[in-house]
């Protein structure tokens, strides 16, 4: 049953990805509207899958790579749908749905049985650590997607090319708000994830902080986002600069994971 739900969700993400892309190409808003409903449908199926899945295997969500990816896709869709209620930002779906689709495809294929967290490391805080960090990262990613679209629309308006694709994009204010809200929620969640991880590390590894490459890089990423949030809230960064730097921050985040998993050996090598 839950596998069926997973497949339904996967199919839903696929259909709405195609729908959003087509609506951009032929410039019909109706198609994007339908795609949003399909995305909602996929999201509901996905939620049910996660629920059944966690009931069957206990409360340990996101214990292997497959679950983590699927949970990320779920969070991404959910957060986007929540934004959709508030703002007219259907076009963001054109970026969100393929991302969710890719996460789901990867989750569905090769990595299905890949390394579980060693049994001795499992416990209550692991779920908190993984879930909070993942959803936080998804929100930070969404902030950057909004930032990308902000910069595109900003460029169109500055260059006075306001017909064409610019019509399909949401207003600058909407993009800025999504960027702001995603950062505002994503950063604390990410922080909670890091702290939970650290506390758990104190219990199972005997030390909360080991100067492990993964931990160092994570700290760096955390500092970048802390700085960005500070600039937004205290200095009053808005619009162009905030969008630009939220993209830079995501690049640092992605680079952090790429570098550490390729170049360093770490004791935290399961996700």
């Amino acid at each position: 049953m839950d596998i069926l739900l997973f497949k339904i969700a996967l199919g839903g993400y696929f259909i709405c990805t195609v729908g959003y892309a087509t609506s951009l190409i032929i410039r019909r808003v109706l198609l994007a509207r339908v795609s949003t409903w399909i995305l909602l449908f996929a999201f509901i199926a996905h939620s049910m899958f996660l629920l059944l899945h966690s009931l069957r295997y206990g409360t340990m969500l996101a214990i292997n790579v497959r679950d983590a990816l699927s949970l990320s896709a779920w969070a991404l869709s959910g957060v986007y749908l929540a934004f959709q209620l508030q703002t007219k930002t259907r076009v963001l779906g054109a970026l969100v749905s393929p991302l969710a689709l890719i996460l789901m495809i990867v989750a569905a294929t090769g990595l299905g049985g890949s390394p579980l967290v060693p049994a001795k490391l499992q416990g209550g805080l692991v779920a908190v650590h993984v879930a909070a960090a993942l959803i936080g990262e998804v929100l930070l990613a969404l902030a950057s997607l909004a930032g990308v679209m902000y910069l595109v629309q900003d460029g169109f308006i500055k260059k006075r090319r306001t017909s064409g694709l610019s019509r399909m994009l949401p207003s600058l204010r909407d993009m800025d708000r999504i960027n702001h809200l995603s950062l505002l929620w994503g950063f604390p969640l990410f922080t909670v994830g890091v702290i939970a991880g650290s506390l758990w590390a104190g219990i199972v590894w005997g030390s909360r902080w080991q100067w492990d490459p993964k931990q160092v890089w994570t700290l760096l990423v955390w500092l970048v986002y802390a700085w960005l949030l500070h600039q937004r809230l205290a200095i009053g960064w808005k619009g162009h600069k905030a969008a630009l730097f939220s993209i830079v921050a995501l690049v640092v985040l992605a680079a952090a994971f790429a570098i550490e998993s390729l170049l360093f050996s770490t004791i935290h090598n399961f996700v």
């Binding site: 703002t87 007219k88 629309q153 308006i157 500055k158 006075r160 306001t162 017909s163 610019s166 949401p170 207003s171 600058l172 204010r173 909407d174 800025d176 009053g236 960064w237 808005k238 619009g239 162009h240 600069k241």
Partner: protein, 423 residues
Amino acid sequence: MNVILIGMNHKTAPLEIRERLSLACGGDVNPLAEMKKISCVSEAFFLSTCNRVEAMVGASDESEVLHALRSFIFRQGNLTDEEMQSCLYVYRNKEAVRHLFRVASSLDSLVMGEPQILGQIKDAYRRAAEENATGIMFNRIIHLAFRVAKRVRTETGIAGNAVSVSFAAVELAKKIFGTLKGKTILLIGAGEMSELAGRHLLNHGAGRVLIANRTYRRAIQIAEEFQGEAVAFEDVPEILKEVDIVISSTGSPGYVVTTEMVTAALHRRKNRLLFLIDIAVPRDIEPAAGDVDNVYLYNIDDLQGIVDDNMKGRQLEASKAEAIIAEEVDRYEAWVNSLQVVPTIVSLREKTQIIVKGEMERLSARFRNMTGEDRESMAILIDSVVNKILHDPITHLKEESEQQAALPYVAALRRLFDLDGDK
């Protein structure tokens, strides 16, 4: 019956002539009543706007009605014969209907895609209906015209994008701010175009208007019109920190708003987005101000460029609209053809035959015990009853058709017997 449309529009007649005619027709003369007085006219419709005058009639004798229409109505405008020759166009039947469809869809308008014309046609139709000037034909034609206009509006982008400078400004503001609700506008200087733009922004939800003018008294005057607030001209740099949209149109030879002012203001407004519209020639706002992050500067040429692009877009959409119109004209033609007497009689007969056959089959089980002979005489009985009932209507229909007046009867018959299968 022929449908004949005679009229003039902004392309064929100069404003002065259209003005004379529409004034005359708006006065004591009731054009619909005048048109109905023409002996061969059975239905009439009259539309007069500042860009066109159209008179459409359903009449049996074309040359008589053309002559009468020309003399009755267009004499009202004191037109000379040459003027009438050069300004008037005449369309017949299918082409008249096509013309009306094009007018209703705003393809024939001065600003293609403008929405007012449909409302004007609706008003004209209501007047005609009140005067009992329209009948089966025109009711159908005009309702089809509404339908065509709606299709064109929803299925093409003809009415999509702003085609005036002030609407282009509103569209841009929405692209930046999402909604204009609660936004503050600063008007610097006075001028028709800037006031129009300000008004459009207000109509789209903008909250507050501030007015700055070199002469403070004038600022107060304009502020009253807008129910806004007058502010001192010297305070503009200061005020930049609290407004969202600036429309500038002073006669100043130098810059009224400099990049330096904008940068300083932006810092103090914590980088909130700022939309600057420079309508003045020579320019009021230093062009480099548009390079500052979160500041969007459009001058009059930029806005005009958007309008021109949108206009081109509308023209592209017009060909789609023509296709829709062609489709609906075909539909109209099919309907008109169905109103011929002979096909109506044929379909009436067919319908009764189908009913008789259906009922016989339905009840055949009950007649099992009847002899073949009985069954035959029963069939003959039913047929002759049906034929007797149909005899009078069909005879009268044929008579009317010889006198060219069958149309209402045909239409009524088709409706009463549901021969078109509409409902």
